[in-house]
Symmetry: C2
Subunit: 202 residues, 2 copies
C-alpha cells in the first residue's frame, strides 16, 4: 500500500518517516517531489484542523493516493496563542527559522520566565481519495526560552523548553524528541489506524 506525505517541510518528513519506520508499517511512503505538477500546497485555513484537512485532501485528490498531512505550530500563552497557524510565516512569507525565532523572542523580551508558557500543537490528517479521513492531535507543553539553545530539530525547537528535562527541543536526540513531541503523539495515534484505514476504506 502507498501513502503520500503531504508536506515539503524536510524536518516534518524526517520525523514522520522515523516514526513510520519505527512502527514497521508495510507501506510505501511517497514523497511529494514525485509529483512534479503539484506546486506549493495552499494553507487557507484559520485553524490547524482546517489546514491539515485541506492539505491532505488537496494532495489526495490531485495524486489519487491516500495522503498524510501535518499542520502544526507554536501557541504562546502570553501572545494569546500566536503565532499559531502562522508559525512558519511569522516574520514573513519566506522567513527563515532564525528570523521567526528572533521575532518571537523580541515580542517576549519583557515577559518573565514563569509567564512564558507555550505549547506545540500538531494536527495530522490521513485522507482517502474517496473523501474519508482520520484526524489526530498532539500537544507538547513547555516554555519559551530566553535565548536559542541547541542545534537539532527545526522551526521553534531552539527556543522551546521541555520543563521536565530542562532542555530545548533542539537539544534532544531525534528519538527523544519524537517520544515527547506534539508530532510524535499525533502520529503514534495515527500509526495504529493507518493499516485498517488503507485496508478497509474503498
Amino acid at each position: 500500500m502507498e501513502l503520500v506525505i503531504a508536506t515539503r517541510n524536510k524536518g516534518k518528513i524526517r520525523e514522520i518517516r522515523d516514526i513510520l519506520i519505527e512502527n514497521k508499517l508495510d507501506i510505501e511512503i511517497k514523497s511529494l517531489d514525485e509529483f512534479t505538477d503539484i506546486g506549493q500546497i495552499p494553507e487557507p485555513g484559520h485553524t490547524f484542523e482546517e489546514n491539515a484537512i485541506y492539505k491532505a485532501r488537496f494532495v489526495s485528490y490531485r495524486t489519487g493516493y491516500f495522503a498524510l498531512s501535518d499542520d502544526s505550530g507554536l501557541e504562546v500563552d502570553a501572545l494569546d496563542g500566536r503565532p499559531g497557524v502562522f508559525s512558519a510565516r511569522f516574520a514573513g512569507m519566506e522567513a527563515s527559522d532564525e528570523e521567526n525565532n528572533k521575532k518571537l523572542l523580541n515580542l517576549m523580551k519583557d515577559v518573565p520566565f514563569e509567564n512564558r508558557g507555550a505549547q506545540f500543537r500538531c494536527v495530522m490528517v490521513l485522507y482517502s481519495p474517496f473523501g474519508d479521513y482520520i484526524l489526530t492531535q498532539g500537544v507538547w507543553r513547555g516554555k519559551i526560552a530566553l535565548s536559542p539553545q541547541g542545534e537539532g530539530g527545526f522551526g521553534y525547537d531552539p527556543i522551546f523548553i521541555d520543563e521536565t528535562l530542562g532542555k530545548s527541543a533542539a537539544q534532544l536526540s531525534r528519538g527523544k524528541k519524537n517520544s515527547l513531541s506534539h508530532r510524535g503523539i499525533a502520529l503514534r495515534k495515527m500509526v495504529r489506524l493507518i493499516g485498517p484505514f488503507l485496508e478497509h476504506i474503498k
Copy 2:
C-alpha cells in the same frame, strides 16, 4: 468500551444499531436519552461534514464518551443539490416526513423521470473526547419517484427509487436497505475502524 450515538432520530439509531450488532462489535452503545442535560443538538454547518463533526464533538465533549454522529440527506440533481443539509427541515423546522416528501414532489412536478436523478449522502463521524476523529462517507444514487411508495424506512425513503431494484427505499427490508444505503456504506467503513480507534486513542 462505550460509545454514545449522537442523534435522537429513531430511524438512524435503529439502522446504526442493526449494523453494529451485525458486525458483533464488543461495544456498549449508549443512547443520548441517558444524558438528560443534553437538549437538542445544534446543526450549525453549511455541509454534511461540518454538521457531522459538530454534533459528534458536541456530544463527546458534553458526555466525556466517544460519540458517533450521522449527518445525511438527499441531494436532488434538478434542484442543484437541495434539500441537502436542510433535508429534515425542508418544509419547516418541525416538518414531518410526509410534509417534506410532499414539498419535494411538488417542486419536482414538472421534471420528467429521466431528469429526476438524486442521491442520498451520509457523513459519519466518530469523535474522541481528546479531539481526534474519523470521518467516513457514503453515497446512494437513485431517482425521485413520481409518488410515495412503501411503508418502511423513514425520511425521504418512500420517494427515493433504487433503479437496479426498481423499488423505493421504503419498499426494502431493513437488511436490504442497509446493504445498499448511504448510511450502510459509511457505517461499514467506520465499523472496521471503531475497535482500533477506541483502543488506541487516549
